[in-house]
Every structure is written in C-alpha cells, then in structure tokens.
Amino acid sequence: METPIFEVDNLRAHYLTRFGQKIQAVDGVSFSLKPGEILGIAGESGCGKTTLVSACMGLYIPPLHLSGGDVRVDGQSILGMDVEVNRRDILGKKISMIPQGALNSLNPTRKVRDLASDMIRSHDDRADKKALYARLRTRFEKLGMPADEVLNAYPVQLPAGMKQRVVIGISTLLDPRVVIADEPTSALDVSTQKAVIKLLFELMDQGIIGSMLFITHELPLLRHVSNDIAVMYAGEFVELGKTEQIIFDPRQPYTKALMGSMLSAEPGHAGQKPVAIEGAPPNLAHPIQGCRFAERCPVAMPECKAKQQQLRLVRARQVRCQYAE
C-alpha cells in the first residue's frame, strides 16, 4: 500500500470575530492523497474552501484558529509548530499554494528573477547568485516560458497568461510535495484557462509537484482535472468519491443540485433546464442541529433537522446523508 503523501485528519478551524463570535468555518474535514493524485474540492462561495486552504497549510493567523485535527505531509505533522519554522521548512517546500487572483500577487516593483530568487533564498540562504539564476532559467524553460525574457521582465510587462505561469513557476520552485491551487483559473479566459491546466498537468507528470488539491466552483473543469472530487458545503464534505461517480452519479441532494445547475454548450444538451434551489447556505456562527442542507433540501425529511449527519459509504463513495442510496 502506497503511503499517502498528504493526509488531513478531522481538521477543524474557526474564526474569532471582534465581537467574540466563533465561526466554525471548517468542521471536520478528512481526506488523503497519494503521489500523483489530484483531489478537486467543489463548493460555492462561503462553503469554507478558502479557509480550508489556510488550515491545510498550517497558516493560522488570527482571527483564524485551529480547533482540532491534524495535517500530515509524508507522514509528518505540519501543525502546531512555530510560525518561523512553518515558514522556513513547510511553506513552499512541503506544501505550496497558488492563490486566487494570482495575477495580482506579483510585486510590480521587482523583476521576476528577483521574486523567484526570494522564494529560494527564504528557504536556503546559502544559494549562490549565478547558480541560482541558472536554476531558475532551467526551470522556467522547462515550464515552456522564454526564460531570459521572462526572468528579466517586470510583472506588468507580461500578459495575463504568462503572469499566471510565472506565479505557478515560483510557487513550485522548491518542488513541493503538495500544491493547493485555489481557483487558479477563475479570472482567466477559457483559452488561458486551458493552458494553465496543461501546465499544472506537466508539472505533475514531471514529478515537480507530488500531488495537488484543486479548489474551484466550476464543476466541468474538475471533470477533466481531478481523480477524486469532494463537495463541500457549510464547512463539511457532503460527498467524496471518484470524479466519474460524483459528476455522473451524485447521491447526496446538494451534490445533485450542484450537478443539476450546470449549463452545457454541447450539441444536443443545449436545452437542459438547470435546477434551482431557494435559500442560502447557513450562518456558521450558530451551531446547527441536524443536517446543514436540510433547510434547502428538496427531499428533506423531518428527522433530517434533528440528527447530526455523518459520512457513510454509499455505492463506493462517502455521502453525508442518511437517506441517500
């Protein structure tokens, strides 16, 4: 049995607001990744997926706090350590992130080569300047960018697609074991989107990235990107299984609704009516009794609001619904 490269074990994280309110944004998330695997996390705004990113990386900067659970890379826990140690040994090296809106995360006042060198130097002070540049050059060429041009440019001089490649390049410079991509394609045109995904695949194939967590609200994208999909709602996974299962045979009512809301441009499918759901996700400041989706669920039973729903195995995937089959 291959050892998982990334394990998240009943992770719980909360926000403490100025008024003393505790918002349990991530409430018991568990999954594991083997080398070469991509897990897609699908969910809408407010479901907790962005918090999950910080939580998985060990970045607990107030008002975000760890409530419980563990995160392990290559069997070693990355939680509970000093912020400095975390920054030096974990971030970028073991686990790295491609943030949302990455196009704007490049410092416009510095050249790309300086930004990239910073990344390496912050983890390894001894690096020699010349050797460093050569290393950057090889890597950027490998990623399909005209290295000398790009490295010596300022971010503003590069087109959007190239900037996204640069961000991906810098985030993966230290060959991280796990990469968390948080909506990496949401601000891009479809053609650039495709190129970015292609790049991420290449990085995985070349072993530069060990495994990937791909977060998005766009389901059709996940169909082609991930091996497994976890659907997140109100801080929990409501369904977790293989991509084909989740997309073509969803079992949990929320997943079904999500799949039903997709509109496709394929010939023959163009007339399908999307499914509507009234209401909004629950407010996580107050503890919720019973199923969190019960308020909006089209097939909710009276008992749904009373009993806490657990993940159970239904047709070879995990479903958080006592009535699913």
């Binding site: 053609s191 194939d205 994208l221 082609h224 509109l263 496709s264 394929e266 509507a276």
Partner: protein, 266 residues
C-alpha cells in the same frame, strides 16, 4: 406581418482616446435584434460586449455608424429618459449596483422618476409591493433595510424587481448570474423568463458563458476584439461554427462529455 426590429445597427463603432492611444472597443458591428427575441452577446473579457450593451442602453454614444431603436435613430430624442422608459438593464454585481446610503425600498421608489405621469403615493407603494412579490420577496423582509443588510441573491432580485416596476420593452442583462452562486443561478433565469412572458420583452443577454447563452437565447452573437465574428441560432453556432474564434472557444470550454485535455499519466 413581422413587427419592427427593436435594434438595427450598421457599422457601429466606439473608440476611446485619440491619435496613437486610440482604442476601438467596438468595431464595425452590424446586426438586427428582432422584437421579443432573446439575444446573447458572448465573448471573453475585453471583447467589447459591455460597451456594445451600453450603446444599446444609450449610456455610451457611438463614435461612428448608425444605431436604430424601433426604426428611429437612438439619439433622436434629446432627453435620454425617453429611451430609458423603453430600455432598461440589470447589472452583474448587485451590491455595487445600488447606492449604499439609501434604503432599498427608497431606491426602488426612485424608479418612478421615469414615469411621465407620476402615480400617487399609495399607488407607488402598491406597485413596489407587487414587484417584490413577483420576485418572491415579502415586502416586510426589506422594510427599512439598506443594501449591505441583504444577501447577494436578494439584491440581485431587487434589480429584477426594478424591471417589474418599470416594464420596459427591452432588457439588457449584463452578466446577471456571474456573481451569483450556482444554485441561485437558475432562479434568476426563471425570473427573466417570467419577465419575458409577462411583458413580451426583448432581452439582450451579455455573458462569457456560452453554455448559459445556449440555454437561454434563440440567437447568439460571438464577439472578439470588438467585432461580431459570428451570429446565429445556438444549435447552429455550436455544431457548425463558421468562425475560428467560435471554434477555439468551443474547444477550450471544459465540458462533461468531450475530451478536453488529457493527463498522460492518468
């Protein structure tokens, strides 16, 4: 006898800046939008679709070419309010679309500024109530509330409630569902369909999502770098695209049943 087309454009262009810095946001657009049609203008960001929509709305003036509304040049009446009585819009971001300093109800009431004959106070309140009910919002829910106190979905419905009050002939919808969650998307589309049926409206839908365009419209315009590169019914456009732009667009969209991009190691 076919009725007058709502919009007719001939070599419509809009440029910004002068000399070297001149940019053509819309280039030579020629099209007809028949009455009671639902037309989608599809394109990636920066293709000029929003500028074109603003010209139809009379919020931007064309730099060259002609644009006719109901057979007459769009700027034939000096007062743009005459145009706004017939052509209205819903915007993408429901929060930035409303003034944060006034209550939502007061802002719905300000719609009546456009009316030639201002209704009585009671009539105004009754019509606002009716519009709210049409989008499934109980008037009490928004009593005395300011925009920031409501959710995105509710605010988007406020934009639609405006349309129920104003009852225009044409609605320009600029990406009305892109900032709304997937589950609420279908709701918004349902309200738009309801509006169309009740008011026999012509709808111009601006979006980057071709799947959405196919679902909702009976005619699609594909825009790229300011030009309309393709026009036609959805089924034809996606099954037999004539422009390479359309072909590339269809190829690049991740879809469930087609091979989009494969991983060599999977």
């Amino acid at each position: 006898m076919p009725s007058e087309p709502k919009f007719q454009a001939e070599a419509l262009s809009r440029s910004y800046g002068h000399g070297k810095k001149r940019v053509l946001a819309v280039k030579n657009a020629s099209f007809t939008i028949p009455s009671q049609d639902i037309v989608s203008i599809v394109g990636q960001s920066g293709c000029g679709k929003t500028v074109l929509a603003k010209m139809l709305l009379r919020l931007e003036t064309p730099s060259s070419g002609s644009l006719l509304f109901n057979g007459k040049p769009i700027a034939s009446e000096r007062d743009p309010r005459a145009h706004f009585r017939s052509v209205q819009a819903v915007f993408q971001d429901p929060f930035s679309a409303f003034n944060q300093f006034f209550t939502i109800r007061a802002q719905l009431r300000s719609c009546f500024k456009l009316f030639l004959r201002k209704p009585s106070r009671d009539e105004m309140e009754a019509r606002v109530d009716a519009a709210l009910l049409a989008v499934n919002i109980k008037p009490k829910e928004i009593e005395g509330k300011y925009p920031f106190e409501l959710s995105g979905g509710q605010m988007q419905r406020m934009l639609l409630a405006r349309i129920f009050i104003l009852r225009p002939e044409v609605l320009i919808a600029d990406e009305p569902t892109s900032m709304v969650d997937a589950c609420s998307r279908a709701n918004i589309l349902d309200y738009l369909m309801k509006l169309k049926k009740e008011l026999d409206m012509t709808i111009v839908f601006v979006t980057h999502d071709i799947g959405l365009a196919c679902y909702i419209s009976n005619s699609i315009f594909i825009m790229h770098q300011g030009e309309i590169v393709e026009q036609g019914p959805p089924e034809r456009v996606i099954s037999q695209p004539t422009s390479h732009v359309t072909r590339q667009l269809l190829q690049d969209i991740p879809d469930l049943h087609r091979e989009w991009l494969s991983r060599s190691s999977s």
